[in-house]
């Protein structure tokens, strides 16, 4: 560098002197708006640099603030996620409580609808460990005066019967257990049969002759012949019908949701549950009629004809089924 300068010293000096004079000129010359040329040049020279500096600072600042903001966002995000998890848990808890309250309200309403029949609300506390056995445990037992063969229902329909009683718990055999059998009849045709468990989620209704015209959705109620359930409690509806030899194969869709039972009612007597008058609508259509596939008139059929407005029922007499072996 120094060698280069020494070698080209005259030229360097020339450039320096000329530049100095150019600057001197620029100091004197005034452009538009009475701005000195040197100021104009200085502004022209510095503006891009300032602009570049501003751009750099703003972007670096933006990057930095973005990075810091990102870190804050991350922490905030984690906090919010935690908050959301808590709220979800809380929401789930509240939903659970709400559902429980609704179930209890339904039970209470059901109980209040039938003050003549002694019944006891119970909570499902467990189920059978055997996957082929459809049983469950309730939190009532001998201390609550429960006995074997007491019927267990929900406001939706029949659940099963008590098969074992312990001091504080009882075991309930569900209607879809293969050892279960409930005296039943079709709500419309009054044709008798037996609803038996098959080990599948859906029990079957047996001893219904092939001539009996059935449709999916036909309501099946208790007949009261098994001396366990009062008459006309809803068991379920016809799911599918296939002709058999000599009886039809009828799968029953239980009215009670047997796979998600939480609260049940134990019937302490065979007292028949009379339908409450207030449940009838002014037009004469009951609640069950409003929802024929899922009658909810306290699980009791008040007017079976209301479930099927235009039933094509074969009124031919069916052979009397054998008494269910409970």
């Amino acid at each position: 560098m120094i060698d280069t300068f020494s070698r080209h010293r005259p030229l360097t000096l020339l450039a320096t002197v000329v530049l100095a004079q150019v600057l001197l000129l620029a100091f004197q010359i005034k452009r538009e708006n009475n701005v000195r040329l040197i100021r104009y040049w200085a502004v022209q020279l510095m503006t891009p640099l300032e602009r570049a500096g501003t751009w750099t600072f703003s972007h670096v600042g933006g990057l930095w603030s973005g990075y810091v903001g990102l870190r804050n966002s991350r922490a905030e995000n984690e906090h919010l996620r935690s908050e959301v998890d808590k709220l979800r848990l809380r929401n789930s808890e509240l939903e659970s409580r709400s559902a429980e309250a609704q179930r209890l309200e339904t039970l209470l309403n059901f109980h209040e609808s039938h003050p003549e029949a002694p019944m006891l609300a119970a909570q499902v506390i467990g189920a059978s460990a055997d996957p082929t056995s459809h049983t469950l445990f309730i939190n009532r037992g001998e201390r609550d005066h429960l006995r074997r063969n007491m019927g267990v229902i929900t406001p939706d329909g029949v659940v099963g019967k008590i098969v074992e009683v312990f001091p504080s718990t009882a075991q309930v055999l569900l209607i879809n257990d293969k050892d279960s059998g409930v005296g039943a009849l079709f709500a419309v045709s009054r044709t008798h049969g037996v609803v038996r468990g098959s080990g599948d989620p859906e029990p079957h209704m047996e001893y219904v002759i092939n001539e009996e015209k059935l449709q999916a959705g036909d309501v099946i109620v208790t007949s009261g012949e098994d001396r366990i359930f009062p008459k006309d409690l809803v068991i379920g509806t016809v799911g599918s019908v296939r002709p058999g030899n000599p009886f039809q194969t009828i799968s029953v869709q239980p009215a009670a949701r047997l796979d998600r039972l939480e609260d049940v009612i134990v019937l302490l007597s065979l007292q028949e549950l009379a339908p409450k008058k207030t449940e009838e609508s002014p037009a004469g259509t009951g609640v069950a009629a409003a929802a024929p596939s899922a009658p909810r008139s306290g699980g009791i059929v008040s007017d079976p004809n209301k479930f099927k407005p235009a039933p094509a029922v074969n009124k031919s007499p069916a052979p009397a089924p054998p008494a269910p072996q409970q």
Binding site: L11, L13, V17, V18, Q21, V22, L25, Q28, I29
Partner: protein
């Protein structure tokens, strides 16, 4: 000025470097500037001749030192600017600095003693000087100064002719080698 004249004393070894008596360079330059200003009072014909330019060229080619040439040219030009009433200081300064440097460089390489070569040299430097002035005015002042006109051409011829005579007179101020 004398100090400036001593700067960068080395030049081509095979070309004669002319020396002048003390104060000759300074006095001649001042006289050129004074005459230029004095003659200007007596008519526009004085504009035909640029005495400071001739002095710059002469001492540049005679001393054959680019550094002293550029400083001398710069000083003469700035003084010329200072003596004018409307020129910003530096206009002639820049032009004569470059001319002084160029004249010194050229003088170190070619023979500048012959009148014809002097005429041609002055003619060329006149237009070179004019070109720098025009360029400076265009760039810095936004003035549309002409690069070449007939008037300038005549000026250059008159200046070159006068320069040949002036250079011969100035030769007498040299120290005899």
């Amino acid at each position: 000025m004398a100090y400036m004249m001593n700067l960068g004393a080395h030049s081509e070894p095979n070309v004669e470097v002319h020396k002048f008596y003390g104060g000759t360079v300074l006095g001649t330059c001042l006289l050129a500037l004074v005459f230029q200003a004095f003659l200007h009072k007596y008519g526009r014909w004085s504009e035909l001749i640029d005495l400071p330019l001739l002095v710059t060229i002469y001492f540049g080619v005679s001393r054959r030192n680019p550094v002293s040439g550029l400083f001398l040219g710069g000083a003469i030009g700035i003084l010329q600017d200072a003596l004018s009433h409307d020129n910003p200081i530096g206009m002639y300064g820049i032009a004569k600095t470059i001319v002084g440097y160029s004249a010194s460089s050229v003088g170190a390489r070619i023979d500048t003693e012959h009148p014809l070569s002097r005429f041609g040299l002055i003619f060329l430097f006149f237009h070179f000087h004019q070109a720098i002035l025009a360029l400076t005015q265009r760039v810095l002042l936004n003035h549309s100064a002409p690069l070449f006109t007939i008037h300038l051409f005549v000026d250059s011829l008159v200046t070159a002719a006068f320069g040949v005579i002036l250079f011969a007179l100035l030769d007498r101020l040299r120290k005899s080698s």
